[in-house]
Symmetry: C2
Subunit: 767 residues, 2 copies
């Protein structure tokens, strides 16, 4: 870069409005814009007559001459303590937001509105907010349009309550299923995650430079590599190198930049020792200078204060982060001390100006500086959300048990996740309105003509006294047993939490996932394994079929349910309506269309099993070959398929053809069954570059095809432009291509193309 300000790019220039505003601001006012110190729900109290703002909020606004951002004004959940009894009611939400903005404006010299920042990892975490399947379930759709449609509805809903910024999951990769936040990832694959992240950002922000009143700005989280945390332990060190970072962990962020994401949340973890919020190579060198993002960097909650120990103090921590490229803090003390950092020479005014300019540019982009963003309080529900369907459900086994045949009279629904809705939602969700949501048992009751009886059998992680006995009795009564197993990320209002909302003391609660709930053992918990074995033994030989539904937010092993069931379906955390969707799918009204977005390990002891790890000379332990219990990409529907031999398209190609999306394979796909259905044809590559260890396989593209019974079609699957697998390659190589229906493909019959790659990532010297 040869510009005088290396952190500024050509696209990266402020409007006159921002420039003039900035020129009028005092240092304190600028620093005020960089802070998101207050949690909204702590500063709005609901009374019998209305909503009252706290003195502290107004004093804060007065002190700083405004407020940069308010976090979680509408957030309602166990951690915030906001519920239907005390939180902001949906019908009042827009008005309360306006009340807050008016009060802030009244005490702010320049009357710059605060950014209203809300959590929306997979839906709006406010009372009445629309909830989508968790991110990992969205990934299972392999369908950016499906995801985009629903994300757009969430954005419109957020905008309607006066929110400006949605904090959205997407950048983390589910590389270690022990991590409780696996559910917040678009799976393990960088291409899939990049596609879905880009689609989500574009859908929520809308088209064009300005973000209009039907859309919100998206801050995607987290930058970067949090999914590589050692041991799957939340926020632990990502001990990875540059190629792994570029090929696996950065592609979703790159995709978000291309979608012009409004911001990036710097992650808690360090990468090979350097905390992301102190990583100038990452936040400035790569994100701004190399990729040209004009977005803000917002740090994760309290992440800057965590830098204080090594930095030598909070003032030093704030300076370190600002100089690295953080523009806005979340909840830290450190960034409130930037005036002192300036006085002590730890930062300069230009750095504060640049951060403030970025924040103001975002406000301008939202129409907040010229008053063009207007919010009308809507009557809810105003935004039709496309319904959740079977697109995210992954059927991994079916010995003819599904669809359930008509005429069944007795169905037993057994398991810890059989009767409750909370387990269907995932982490980062508001309490549902009373009576909302459909459990799996309720879904079956509503959908089947049969008699449906329920028994929990066990807790998620612990035993339920007498539970197995009752379950066994019930199973003997039934013609079909639906086992509702897996995990839960439900939070309880009497639970304990870390300062940042992560679960604490969750050891004592019956949960197994979500932030702060990491698991050492990712198999089915022992209590559930015993339940499965007891039920299977009870019905063995009786003709009773067992259908297992795995409700989970991670690549959780399903053994022994996988072996002992006649069919097994991963439902992820499907959302409030999940019970209905699952029931419709079990009876065959809908075909399960999801594909595994992760490699499911047989046990934590065999990790890593990600399908795209570098080719091993001898991938085995003494106990046998290392192979996943269920491979990435796997998933059955209700018909059967064949793939013909693969042909390269075109026969010879250069990297420019790849980047232009002209390269791929052609393969004949046939629906050999007796039912119409859809299939995801997956294109995998193995890149052979001299002096580099090849990855076993990398997903390079995918294409869904819908065929009638007996129908056959030639399908072309193209390599996605700038595929992550080429991100850190620089030089000549050969690319072997195969098509398959999951990632357990063989390259013995691959077609091969020569190429010379000069990839974006490869010229980043520092990172």
């Amino acid at each position: 870069m040869t510009m005088t300000d290396p952190a500024r790019t050509t696209q990266d220039s402020p409007t006159d409005r921002v420039r003039e505003l900035l020129a009028r601001m005092t240092t304190r006012e600028k620093v005020g814009q960089l802070n998101q110190r207050l949690f909204g729900w702590q500063h709005v109290r609901r009374t019998r007559t209305g909503y009252v703002l706290s003195e502290e909020l107004l004093a804060h606004a007065e002190h700083w001459g405004g407020i940069g951002a308010v976090y979680g004004l509408h957030r309602a959940d166990a951690w915030s303590g906001q519920s239907w009894s005390n939180g902001i009611a949906p019908e009042a939400a827009a008005e309360v937001t306006r009340q807050l903005q008016d009060a802030v404006a009244a005490v702010s010299r320049l009357a710059v509105p605060a950014l209203i920042v809300e959590e929306a990892p997979h839906g709006h975490q406010g009372l009445g907010g629309t909830l989508l399947p968790t991110t990992i379930g969205q990934a299972a759709t392999f369908d950016p349009e499906w995801v985009a449609e629903r994300a757009a509805a969430v954005a419109a809903e957020l905008a309607s309550v006066g929110a400006h910024v949605a904090l959205v999951s997407g950048l983390d990769l589910a590389r270690d299923p022990r991590w409780g936040r696996s559910e917040e990832c678009f799976g393990e694959d960088p291409l899939l995650a990049a596609e879905l992240t880009g689609a989500t950002v574009a859908a929520m922000q809308g088209e064009g430079e300005r973000i209009d009143a039907a859309h919100v700005a998206v801050v995607v989280k987290h930058l970067a590599a949090q999914g590589a945390a050692a041991g799957g332990r939340n926020a632990a060190s990502a001990v990875i190198g540059r190629r792994e970072l570029h090929e696996i962990h950065l592609p979703p962020a790159r995709s978000a930049v291309l979608a012009d994401a409004a911001g990036f949340m710097s992650a808690y973890n360090d990468i090979d020792g350097v905390p992301c919020s102190a990583n100038r190579d990452l936040l400035t060198g790569l994100l701004r200078q190399q990729w040209g993002s004009r977005g803000i960097v917002m740090s994760d909650m309290g992440a800057l204060d965590r830098l204080a120990g090594p930095a030598g103090g909070l003032v030093e921590a704030g300076a370190l982060a600002l100089n690295a490229g953080v523009d806005m803090s979340m909840g830290d003390v450190a960034f409130t001390l930037l005036e002192e950092a300036l006085a002590r020479g730890l930062v300069n005014e230009a750095a504060i100006d640049l951060a403030c300019e970025r924040v103001l540019r975002l406000k301008d982009r939202l129409g907040l500086l010229d008053g063009t963003r207007s919010v009308e309080a809507p009557a809810r529900p105003r935004f039709p959300v496309p319904p959740v369907d079977a697109s995210a459900l992954v059927l991994v086994k079916n010995d003819g048990a599904l669809p359930l045949p008509p005429g069944i009279e007795r169905v037993a629904v057994i398991g810890p996740n059989s009767q409750d809705v909370g387990c269907l939602l995932g982490d980062y969700v508001p309490p549902l309105p009373a009576g909302d949501g459909v459990s799996i048992a309720e879904g079956l009751v509503q959908t089947l003509a049969a008699e449906v009886r329920c028994e929990r059998g066990s807790m998620v992680r612990g035993e339920l006294p007498g539970g197995i006995g009752r379950a066994v009795d019930l199973a003997r009564w039934a013609e079909v047993v639906v086992l509702a197993l897996g995990g839960s990320s439900r939070r309880r209002y009497d639970g304990e939490f870390e300062d940042n909302g992560a679960a604490a003391g969750a050891e004592d609660l019956d949960v197994s996932g979500g932030e702060g709930a990491d698991l050492a053992d990712v198999r089915l918990p022992g209590a559930q394994r015993e339940l499965v074995e007891a039920v299977a033994e009870a019905v063995a030989g009786s003709g009773t079929r067992i259908v297992t539904v795995m409700v989970t937010g991670r690549a959780q092993g399903a053994s022994p349910a996988l072996e002992l069931s006649d069919a097994l379906l991963y439902a992820w955390y499907p959302g409030p309506d999940g019970g209905r969707v699952i029931a419709e799918t079990l009876i065959g009204n809908d075909e399960p269309a999801g594909r595994m977005p992760v490699s499911v390990p047989r046990s934590s002891a065999e990790l890593p099993v990600t399908y795209d790890r570098r080719l091993e000379w001898s991938p085995r332990y003494l106990t046998g070959p290392v192979s996943p219990e269920t491979p990435f990409g796997a998933g059955l529907g209700y018909t059967s398929w064949t793939l013909g031999p693969v042909e390269g398209v075109p026969a010879a190609a250069g990297i420019e053809d790849v980047d232009a999306g002209r390269v791929g394979v052609r393969v004949r796909v046939t629906n050999t069954g007796r039912r119409a259905g859809s299939q995801v044809v997956q294109l995998y590559g193995r890149l052979m570059v001299p002096g580099l260890a090849p990855r076993t396989a990398s997903l390079l593209g995918h294409s869904r095809v819908r065929l009638e019974p007996g129908e056959s079609r030639e399908v072309e699957v193209r390599i996605a432009p700038s595929p992550p697998a080429l991100a850190a390659i620089d030089g000549p190589g050969r690319l072997a291509l195969v098509a398959g229906l999951d990632s357990s493909v063989s390259f013995d019959e691959a077609v091969e193309i020569d190429l010379v790659v000069t990839a974006a990532g490869a010229d980043s010297a520092a990172l």
Copy 2:
């Protein structure tokens, strides 16, 4: 670097002898020097009247005008198929070597002797060779002198049979206990491994520039980071970054360079995608240019041929490796094709010259070019080896059961490792002479006045029909039960092997460690857990004491033996005399003096648990805090100790003081027991550098103190010069120091020093 030849340093210049020889060589002769294509044992056949060399050996020497090196002429083990019935007898070994050299010289135009390269990971892997405890056990001594004395004896023995080069383990770190080669590591800690590697190299090579006829050249293995292989799977990718590489994995190599090691073996694994044998940044940039090594780089067996796939062919693979900095291959086809690579312009003559020059310099250093190295066939045993003692034995629990009191009359020795010697040896060992070696049972028989009875109870990994029943009966008879548990790396002559000698098909054998024998689950195998529980239940309440001896080569969990035993001792693979040493220790003739060289995990599901991993905000799973079963550094003797408060020495210091070994702590150490004993006082530091995530703790120094009962002494423990913990640091920081008796130290009461570091590793841009 400003030199014209960047791969050459000033120290790195050839003698006139080498220069003249090189000038006289043809390209083919030079390439011949770079090859170690032949495995010696395949080319010497023992007959009734003597030893006969193969035609292929002589044809090879004739074709290349000499031989660069012969691998494993004296190697005897299951893979080579060499045993006491067909291998080279010790008394004939020197003569056979001379016979080979004479024959090679006779058909070589320039009569350059071949390097005779032998395996000596922990002793000489030839018939009659002295065996030391495996490397991990040597690390448990925390005693470079102990290790050096024994390494020197092995070197003298190797030299006496005409060997020139010993392949010695030392560079790998035992970071993942699933890895079967953990036993070949000097533990998990970079400082400890660096000290012991340096001591081993210096002891085996002797003092001074020349390596005399009582010493051998050392090629240390492996460069680099093989211990970081993903999943603990042999040779898998080390997906690590630069800081991790420099702080954890490179220090032993740096130490070997400082000890002027003759060579380095490039590892099978890739580091973040780049295979070590193709890594010019590593083999040339770091090793030669930055560190100034003048040693050769020898690739691991067949590692170059493994590069062929991505490189596009064997010729390309050889060129890639030569250009990266490999000088000598082992067993590959690729390096025999360098003439073709030259003809095709893939390498240039200068690169071949430089590699050849390095090989010739090593031969010169050994006195092979001027005939000054002479070997006289010795009558064996000629080299007194200091005996193995209790220095490597780590006592991790003792509820008063040890030392065994006098007067015991009935001792039961139970367990898969109770009666056999093979389990005491580890991998990479020759067959013992008939009748050699002392099993644990035999050791107790020889040492105790008691009646000793044995029962295996179980196999190492599988059940033994009726074993538990017989073991329980025997336990009920005994006053003391010694459980001999753990693992085994024994190889069988009817076993299967990979092309490089790693175990294959070991699934079916009763082994659990060594090369090719990686384990998913590092707890005691189920069969042993059942045995322990049955025995403990049988003697519960009877007053019978249980003493467990863990024979193992990795950080293997000891639960439930740890909880159910009155005392538990890790013996590692102690060597042929292990049974005697263990018995002497159990009765208290010797005090166990070892300290844990690894962090022992509770299960593989919690990995990593290395004590020096970066500080985690919330190191826990839902099942509880992440903590090792036994921490690094732990170990009990037969007396008790207290440590006083820690005082900094000196109170203030700079990095130059650290490098000069002037900085550390002073602490009062008291033997509070009634028996003389020794203790290892350990100095741990936590480095606080702005913008870097601190490691939890790093071992910075250690000091053994021997005190009489009731004696008290002020002990100074200094930071070792250039501690690995500072290897990748560049800038100001603070170092908190504490002393402790294991790595589970608290930094609450640490003394703190300010320092500015400019470390060796920090200025390496490429790596």
